[in-house]
Amino acid sequence: MKDDNAPLSPALQIYRPQLTSVLSFMHRLTGIALSLGSLLLIAWLVAGSMGSPAYDMLLGFLRSGTGVLLLFGWTFTLFYHLCNGIRHLCWDAGYGFELKTIYASGWAVVSASLGLTVATWLIGLYALAGGA
């Protein structure tokens, strides 16, 4: 039930998805996912304050298959929200509103977040293998 005249978001059922709307939706979705991921940050800090056994247990989980999958998803989610967040800040400053620019920056965000995720994991795996 609606109790004021606040503007509503477009109804998803009648809205044709485009790059712009999908990226906008993903910004919120990644924001929610990162909120859940932040619980892991607090778990890490708490485990660290409890001592070696708790810390080793958490890192053991993070190095397991499930843990690595979670961390990989978290990395992409973080980079996406970061890159698209910078795009949003540019809009807030009044730049990049032409339709062509909006699509170009949209694709730039997609490729940058994919590229940064892969690069981070290559560095991470290299370090884990004992190279650094």
């Binding site: 004021d4 924001g31 800090l45 660290g48 080793d56 973080l78 970061l82 981070t120």
Partner: protein
């Protein structure tokens, strides 16, 4: 009849909307370098043991950055989740309840994080 001035005043944000908007942007800008620093730190710590974590966090620069990261992150998170609730929850009591729950939860997480940092470096 309302005077033109009172009509114009009536068009302003009814609550703390502009402060919310600005705080969300300021924390966003702060989180850009902090998130990159955090990710780089994780890459360096991923292979380490508990003692490496303690030594790393005890360095004054890392303590300051970690405290800043936790505060900026949960502040930004509370504001962002609040906007989502305000967009999709249309009953006022539920909207207020969800908002308060989000801010309370984030405040508790910040305190938990900061206390843990203090206990680690003590």
């Amino acid at each position: 009849m309302r005077s033109p001035l009172s009509q114009a005043r009536g068009l302003r944000s009814a609550g703390a909307g502009s402060a919310h908007w600005w705080t969300q942007r300021v924390t966003a800008v702060a989180l850009v370098p902090l998130a990159i620093w955090f990710l780089a730190s994780l890459l360096a710590l991923g292979r380490g043991k508990h003692i490496d974590f303690v030594v790393w966090l005890q360095s004054p620069l890392n303590t300051i950055l970690m405290v800043s990261f936790v505060i900026a992150l949960f502040w930004h998170m509370a504001l962002g989740l609040q906007v989502i609730v305000e967009d999709y929850v249309h009953t006022r009591p539920l909207k207020i309840l969800a908002s308060v729950a989000i801010h309370t939860g984030c405040a508790l997480l910040v305190v938990t994080g900061l206390v843990s940092i203090a206990r680690t470096i003590a």
